[in-house]
């Protein structure tokens, strides 16, 4: 995995970028935190934030020309936040007696400050604090320069005197009534290690570096009005502070220019989307200063501008309380450590790989791609936890084994001769289709593995429909497309699977695949672009629906699009056409079509982190009052398990009378296996009229499974065939423990990489299961 590229992607994310107010504040007051503290009524904490960033906060807080306010995002929705009024309120309500700080020993060099205005005083105080011997030259007889002109409603003479007394207390040598001119400056430059020039005008033009404020290569630094060419007090203070930083760097002999691009006012890369925000007007002051309540209300209007677009849509990022920039740093760490715990594994395996993040990000940052690549790298380096995907990969192996997998051409005309007699051939589209058979497979119906597991009874009907409606012979191909291997990052297994599919396709002379599962569609698009595919739903739209009178109770449904179909807008339209045609109303979800969410199965989260999967499910099912309509078997099963009435499109196209399909519970893991095998048997027997090749699954012992044990089977990924194997071994080899008090037995058997335990009691001929569990650790008996 290319970690430099990874980190670059992380750096592109603007989640951590400052809001425009902070970027436009020359001293970068942390405005969001500042407002949040006010919002919570913590005026003292807000005060401390001012103290931290603003030179002479008690003065500037009262007279700042607030360049932060005009660009505030709130200005487009009601009016800028009144940041400067809030600063005044904070000075009023949040002040406290500062702790005495002990000055550093003054041993770092001698600096002269020319001009005791705001910029000069800022530079002087900053350098004094850092341990320089500072000497001030001022042409008048007082500190403060034009600050005395700022006395007004807010700033009083007493306040200024108090602040300047605090400066005087620092005991810097100050020469009042001392005018410095060109000649005396030359003299000062020889006497001092550095000189700061903070007078508002100077007798001759000077050139300085806009980042460091250094004049040429000399020891002279400038700031204040001379540099800023405006009356802005905050720019003045900021330039004094920045020049002081340069002087310190210069005298410490470190680079003057390193990472200073974000000093002063800069442009933030943050884009904050206010399109969905309600306008709110500013809170007006009733007197000259906000009351605490008014201040709190005003602070509440702040959007706390930050890019959270992807996070808002993704319950995975929210559950792990992370953002793409931080996530990527964690992945980087996880990829680099050699010894020690890979703490990010769980998180990496909890992403649904649904792709919504990229869709939401205006920079197209795709955590889906990042995480997928990470999984592939983990597998490649042997660092992927086996337990995360083991069950899903075994399930895939099952589907590609002879217990499900099947490839057949359409039954030939010759084989179907007995069906071609008058009433049948005129009434059955299917038989008509057989009659038109050419022997060349134009289409191959590939229902995938999950649809047959959830809808075993409909596969044959769909097949017959296809034979009767599409032009050309239709074959069938049962198997798993490899989505589990893809999600698990198993590149080589995936490639093997793809090669196997390609082989069938070639042998069948390159038919078009008709796909019914959204995961299959995604996999074919990603790995098999050479194969022409069509979705079953598109076929229904083109050829007409199979049954005529489906509708029972007309109702409005909300459509949950499968996340694998995100980019397939034709498919979205086909599904909607079918739903309308069937007589239902549609109310779209906020997150739908290209912005759809994952049901909680994607990325194999369902196996790797059940809690995360549940969070996906419950968030999604809470998004609509209507019954949901889905067209992926897993979406249906998970939503129903999450307590939501959900229809699969097939429930509407092939309605069944005996069950309430919107609440039909999902088949158990074992039933999913059985259903797949059953589909194969049904097709072989009823379409191809072959005798089943393998005996159906061995009947085994008859089991009684109480509900709580059934739940354990599901939660612990234990199949009935595992149970049967344990029991067989226990009964035949007597390898088990017994509990004479309760009459229970406890038996275990290792199968592949898992040891299964079954606790049971015999009830006549049957076995009553009382508990089941498993572990991966191997006991060397």
């Amino acid at each position: 995995m290319n970690l430099d590229k990874l980190l670059e992607t992380g750096d592109r994310c603007i989640h951590k970028e400052p809001p425009t107010c902070v970027a436009n504040c020359p001293v970068h007051l942390e405005i969001i935190d500042f407002l949040s503290e006010i919002e919570k009524g913590n005026f003292q904490n807000a005060y401390k934030l001012m103290e931290k960033k603003m030179p002479f906060h008690k003065i500037i807080g009262r007279i700042c020309d607030h360049p932060c306010e005009a660009p505030c995002e709130r200005s487009k929705a009601g009016g800028s936040i009144r940041i400067s009024d809030l600063e005044k309120a904070v000075l009023e309500y949040g002040g406290y007696k500062p702790k005495k700080v002990w000055p550093l020993p003054k041993n770092k060099g001698k600096v002269a400050i020319i001009g005791a205005g705001l910029s000069g005083l800022t530079a002087a105080v900053d350098l004094d604090k850092k341990g320089y011997v500072v000497t001030i030259y001022e042409k008048t007889n007082q500190l403060g320069g034009r600050l005395w002109d700022c006395i007004g409603d807010s700033l009083t003479e007493a306040m200024l005197l108090e602040e300047f007394k605090a400066v005087a207390d620092k005991k810097m040598t100050t020469h009042f009534e001392t005018n410095v001119d060109k000649n005396s400056l030359t003299q000062l430059l020889t006497e001092y290690d550095a000189v700061y020039l903070g007078t508002s005008d100077w007798e001759e033009p000077i050139e300085w570096d806009p980042i460091t404020f250094q004049v040429g290569n000399s020891t002279l630094f400038v700031g204040g009005r001379l540099v800023n060419k405006t009356d802005s007090v905050i720019l003045s203070a900021s330039s004094g502070r920045r020049a002081a930083i340069s002087i310190e760097r210069y005298l410490s002999k470190v680079s003057l220019t390193d990472s200073r691009d974000r000093e002063g006012v800069f442009e933030t890369p943050l884009h904050f989307d206010i399109s969905k925000k309600e306008p709110l007007p500013p809170i007006e002051k009733t007197v000259t200063i906000y009351s605490q309540e008014e201040a709190t209300e005003e602070a509440k209007r702040c959007f706390k501008c930050q890019c959270r677009k992807c996070i808002e849509g993704c319950v995975h990022l929210r559950k792990f309380e992370t953002s793409p920039d931080a996530y990527i740093r964690q992945i980087n760490h996880n990829e680099r450590i050699i010894l020690g715990t890979h703490y990010a594994n769980k998180m990496i395996n909890s992403c649904a790989e649904c792709g919504l993040c990229k869709e939401e990000c205006f920079l197209d940052i795709s955590m889906n791609d990042v995480i997928h690549e990470t999984r592939e790298s983990m597998v490649e380096r042997g660092k992927m936890p086996v337990s995360a995907h083991d069950f899903a990969l075994k399930d895939m192996a099952f589907s590609n084994s002879s217990r499900f997998s099947l490839v057949r051409k359409q039954p030939s005309k010759e084989e179907s001769k007995d069906l071609f007699y008058y009433p049948l051939i005129s009434f059955s589209d299917y038989v008509k289709g057989l009659y038109k058979g050419t022997g060349k497979t134009e289409y191959l119906f590939y229902p995938g593995c999950q649809l047959p597991a959830s809808y075993p009874d409909d596969i044959k009907s769909i097949y017959e429909y296809l034979v009767g409606h599409v032009k050309g012979d239709v074959g069938i191909y049962l198997g798993c497309c490899g989505a589990p291997a893809d999600w698990a990052g198993q590149t080589s297994l995936m490639n093997e699977n793809i090669e196997a599919i390609k082989k069938v396709w070639t042998e069948m002379e390159q038919p078009t695949f008709i796909l019914a599962c959204s995961s299959c569609i995604r996999i074919f698009e990603k790995y098999l672009p050479e194969i022409k595919i069509e979705s079953l739903w598109d076929v229904y739209v083109r050829e007409g629906l199979p049954n005529k009178d489906h509708i029972k109770i007309p109702q409005t449904l909300s459509i949950h699009d499968a996340c694998g179909t995100r980019e397939n807008s034709d498919l979205h339209e086909s599904v909607r056409k079918i739903v309308l045609k069937l007589g239902y109303g549609i109310e779209e979800l906020e997150y739908s079509k290209e912005k759809t969410k994952c049901c909680g199965y994607g990325g194999l989260v369902y196996y790797a982190n059940r809690e995360q999967s549940d969070a996906f499910i419950s968030e999604r099912v809470g998004e609509s009052e209507n019954d949901l309509l889905v067209y992926c078997a897993m979406c249906k099963d998970l939503f129903v398990a999450g307590g939501k009435r959900t229809y699969h499109l097939l429930d509407l196209i092939y309605p069944k009378d005996d069950v309430e399909s919107a609440t039909r519970r999902m088949p158990t893991l074992s039933e999913r296996h059985q259903n797949r095998s059953r589909v194969k048997q049904i097709l072989l027997k009823e379409i191809w009229r072959e005798e089943p090749m393998e005996a159906e699954m061995e009947a085994g012992y008859s089991l009684i499974i109480p509900e709580d044990v059934q739940k354990k089977l599901e939660d612990r990924y234990i199949l009935l065939e595992d149970i049967q194997a344990v029991l067989k071994n226990a009964e035949e080899q007597n390898e088990r423990f017994c509990n004479p008090e309760t009459g229970e037995y406890l038996a275990r058997l290792r199968r592949e990489n898992v040891t299964y335990w079954v606790k049971y009691r015999k009830e006549g001929e049957a076995f009553l299961l009382t508990s089941v569990y498993s572990h991966r650790m191997e006991i060397l008996e």
């Binding site: 715990t341 086996v386 337990s387 037995y745 335990w757 508990s771 991966r776 650790m777 006991i779 008996e781």
Partner: protein, 68 residues
């Protein structure tokens, strides 16, 4: 990792009809090999693992090793 609780005393090895005894047993997962005290049949060496141990401490150790 060790067997706790009182539950296990009730169980006998069904094959040998013997009471279980605490003994050092070798267990292995991925690159980890340990010796732990577990209950087992002194005759046929069948080792008893209860549900709490399997889903508690044992799982924790498994996950720890998987994340190494």
């Amino acid at each position: 990792m060790k067997q706790e609780g009182v539950d296990q005393v009730k169980w006998l090895c069904d094959k040998c009809q013997r009471e279980l005894e605490l003994a050092k047993v070798k267990v292995r997962y991925m690159e980890g090999n340990f010796e732990v005290d577990l209950m087992k049949c002194p005759t046929c060496n069948q080792v008893y693992i209860d549900e709490t141990l399997a889903l508690g401490k044992m799982k924790e150790v498994e996950e720890g090793l998987e994340d190494k």
